[in-house]
C-alpha cells in the first residue's frame, strides 16, 4: 500500500497547484457561460448547480492534496454555511477524514527529533499505520503497561508552510467566493492566527488540560487524559478512546433518549465554555467528538478561541430577548459589532437592520425558547435559506467596508457547527440564556 502523501513540496509547487485549481475553476466558468448561452431559462439553474459542483470538486481536490492551511481553511469554510453554496459544502465536508498518512520512518524521525527516542522505545507497541488522519497531523495507536494511548504526530514543516498557503489561497478564495480583499482582511488574519496556534501542540496540550479540568463537572461530557511527558511541540499523547465518531452515532440507530442525552451534553459543554469560561473549543466538526457508553468525549483542542470580557458582552448582548423589539438597542448593538458603519446611508442601514433582525430572530431562537427540537428539519432549512438568500442579495454584496468583528468568525463557526451537529443528531435540548440576560425574578 502506498502510505505516502503527495503534498506539494516547494512554495512554487504549492502555488502552482493552487493556481491550477483556480485555472480549472476558471475553465469550469467558461464551460458554464458557453453552455448557458445555449440553454433555456429552466436549464440555466441546473447548469449553475453543476458549475458549483464542478468547481467545488476541483478546489477541494487541490486543498486536500496540499494539507495544512488549505485543508483547515476548507474545514472552516465547510462549517460556515452562510459563506458557501451547498455544492462547496458537500465537497469540503469530506476534508474531515481525508488526509493521507505520513510514512512510518518519518514518524520515527519525528519521535527521535522530539524525544531522542523511537516510538518503540517509548511504548511497548506502536501502530505503524495511522489510525486516523487529521488536517495537520495523524493519530497512531500505542500501548504501554496495559494502557492504550492515542499519539498525534504533526506533519513536518506545517507551521512553516501555513502562512504561504494562506497567502496563496487568499486571492483564489476571494475569487471563488466573490469577496473583496480589504473587506475580509481581518477575517483572514483571525483565521491565520488560529491556524498557526493549531500547529503548536504544546499550546494545545496546555489548553486541553485546562478546558478538560474546567469542564470536568459537566454531566455526560468527558475528556481524555493528556500526557505531558509523552508530548512535545510536534507530538501530543492522550488516552485512546474506543468510541463511535459523532456523525456515525448520529446516522446510526440510536434511540431518541440517547440522542437527547448526547445533544444536551454538547449544548451544555458549549454553553459553559462560552458564557462562563469565555474560552471555547472552536472546531466543532464531528471528527472531534466520540460517543462511548452514553457519554460525549471531546477530542482535539487545537482550535480554541478566547473572548475578552468586552468582546463577549458585545457579542452576546445579541441574545437579549428585548433587543429585537427595540430599534435603538438593535442599532447600538450593530454599531458596536461594526455590522453598521457610520458611513452607511439610510437605505443600507434599513436593509442591514432588517436582515439582522431576521437573522437574530432565527439564530437566537433556541436560546429564547427554553428548549429546541433540532430534529425539526425546518429550523436548519430556514438557516440555510437565509444564508443562501443573504449571499445572493445584490444590495448586501454592494456594501463596502470591513464589517463585523473578526472575533465573530469563530463564534459563528462554533454555533453553526453546534447547530449542525445537533441537527444531525436530531436531538431535543433544554436551553437557557446566560444568567446575566435572564429577567430578574420578582
Amino acid at each position: 500500500m502506498n502510505e505516502q502523501d503527495s503534498i506539494k513540496s516547494t512554495r512554487l509547487g504549492r502555488t502552482a497547484a493552487l493556481a491550477g485549481a483556480g485555472a480549472k475553476v476558471g475553465l469550469n466558468y467558461l464551460k458554464y457561460y458557453g453552455r448557458r448561452a445555449l440553454a433555456t431559462k429552466s436549464g440555466a439553474a441546473a447548469l449553475e448547480a453543476e458549475l458549483h459542483e464542478a468547481n467545488a470538486a476541483e478546489v477541494y481536490q487541490t486543498f486536500s492534496q496540499l494539507k495544512g492551511g488549505p485543508l483547515k481553511l476548507a474545514q472552516i469554510l465547510s462549517i460556515d454555511k452562510n459563506i458557501l453554496p451547498a455544492a462547496y459544502l458537500k465537497q469540503f465536508a469530506q476534508a474531515q477524514y481525508s488526509a493521507p498518512p505520513l510514512s512510518y520512518p518519518l514518524v520515527v524521525r519525528t519521535f527521535q527529533r522530539e524525544f531522542r527516542k523511537t516510538p518503540t522505545e517509548l511504548f511497548e507497541t506502536f501502530g505503524r499505520q495511522a489510525a486516523s488522519g487529521a488536517s495537520i497531523g495523524q493519530v497512531h495507536r500505542a500501548a504501554r503497561g496495559g494502557h492504550q494511548f492515542a499519539v498525534k504526530v504533526q506533519y513536518p514543516g506545517v507551521a512553516e508552510s501555513l502562512k504561504n498557503d494562506l497567502r496563496v489561497i487568499k486571492p483564489i478564495a476571494l475569487r471563488v467566493l466573490g469577496l473583496r480583499e480589504r473587506d475580509v482582511a481581518e477575517y483572514f488574519a483571525e483565521v491565520q492566527t488560529r491556524l498557526l496556534e493549531e500547529t503548536d501542540y504544546a499550546l494545545e496540550l496546555e489548553r486541553s488540560m485546562k478546558l478538560g479540568r474546567a469542564c470536568a463537572h459537566l454531566a455526560g461530557v468527558r475528556f481524555p487524559i493528556y500526557y505531558p511527558d509523552l508530548s512535545s511541540a510536534r507530538i501530543l499523547t492522550m488516552d485512546w478512546i474506543d468510541g463511535v465518531p459523532l456523525d456515525r452515532f448520529a446516522d446510526g440507530p440510536a434511540d431518541q433518549a440517547a440522542r437527547d442525552r448526547i445533544g444536551q451534553a454538547l449544548w451544555d459543554f458549549y454553553a459553559y465554555q462560552i458564557h462562563t469560561l469565555h474560552l471555547f473549543h472552536a472546531d466543532p466538526h464531528p471528527g472531534n467528538f466520540l460517543v462511548c457508553d452514553g457519554d460525549l468525549w471531546v477530542l482535539d483542542f487545537g482550535c480554541t478561541k478566547a473572548l475578552s470580557d468586552e468582546v463577549y458582552f458585545k457579542q452576546f448582548r445579541l441574545l437579549d430577548p428585548t433587543l429585537v423589539d427595540d430599534p435603538a438597542k438593535i442599532e447600538q448593538a450593530m454599531l458596536d459589532l461594526r455590522l453598521l458603519l457610520p458611513q452607511d446611508d439610510v437605505a443600507a442601514r434599513r436593509r442591514l437592520t432588517e436582515i439582522f433582525r431576521e437573522s437574530l430572530e432565527l439564530l437566537a431562537r433556541p436560546f429564547r425558547a427554553g428548549s429546541q427540537d433540532f430534529g425539526d428539519p425546518e429550523f436548519m432549512a430556514a438557516i440555510f435559506r437565509m444564508g443562501q438568500a443573504n449571499s445572493q442579495d445584490e444590495q448586501l454584496r454592494r456594501l463596502r467596508g470591513p464589517r463585523g468583528s473578526p472575533h465573530a468568525v469563530y463564534v459563528n463557526r462554533a454555533f453553526f457547527g453546534l447547530y449542525s451537529l445537533l441537527s444531525r443528531l436530531r436531538a431535543r435540548v433544554q436551553t437557557s440564556l446566560p444568567e446575566w440576560l435572564c429577567p430578574a425574578v420578582v
Binding site: Q4, S6, R113, P156, G157
Partner: protein, 222 residues
Amino acid sequence: MAEDVNDAKPDAALREKALGAFGAHVKERGARPESIAQFCRDGEIPESAGQTAFPTLDALESAFWSELVERVADAIAAGAEWPTFTARQQLLTFLFTFFEEALPYRAFLDSRFGESGALGRPEWLESFEARYEDFVAGVIAQGEAGGEIADRGCFARLYPVSFYQLFRATIDFHRKDESAKFERTDAYIEKTVNLAFELLRPNAFHAALDLLRFILPARGQA
C-alpha cells in the same frame, strides 16, 4: 588468519583515530585541515604513519564521508524493525538518519558540497558515492523482490545513480534549509522518496508503455 588480524589492528586503530580527529576538526572549524602534516601534528598522530594511511587530504576526507555513510547504513540495518521495512521505508530511514548523523558537521557539509555543486563529482566524494550505491543496491533488490520497483531491463542500471542524484539533491536542499530543526528537510525527503518510488512502480512504467504504444503507431500513420 590470526596473523592477518593482528597485522590489521594497528592500521584499523590508526585509521579510526585519524577519522575521529578529522571529524573533530571539521566539526569545530567547519573546514578541513591545511595539510596532512599539520593535521597529524594537531591530532597527535605519528606523521609518517598518518601519511601512509592517508597520503592526501582528499584521501582522508573521502574516507570520512564514506565512513559516515557506512556508519549510518550499519546502524539502521542493526535496528529491530529493519527486516520488516519495505524498500521505500529503508531508503527513508537511511536519509533521515544520515542527516541526523551529519548534523554536527553541517558547516563543513555546507561548505564542501556547496563548493562541488549539486552535480559535482570531486575525487573526495568517489567512495562516498560508491558506498551509498552499495547500500542502495540492497534497497533496489528488496524493492524489485517485493514488487515496489519495476525491473526495467537496461534502464534498471540507472537506478543507483538516480538514487545518488536524489541523495545529492537532498544534501543541497538541506544546505539551504533554514527551518526550525530542519523540518523542511524531513518533508523534502518524504516527498522526493515518495515521488521516486511512485515513478519506479511497475504500473507507472506499464502505463507509460501503453501510452507510447498508442502514440507511436499513430505518428507513423500521420
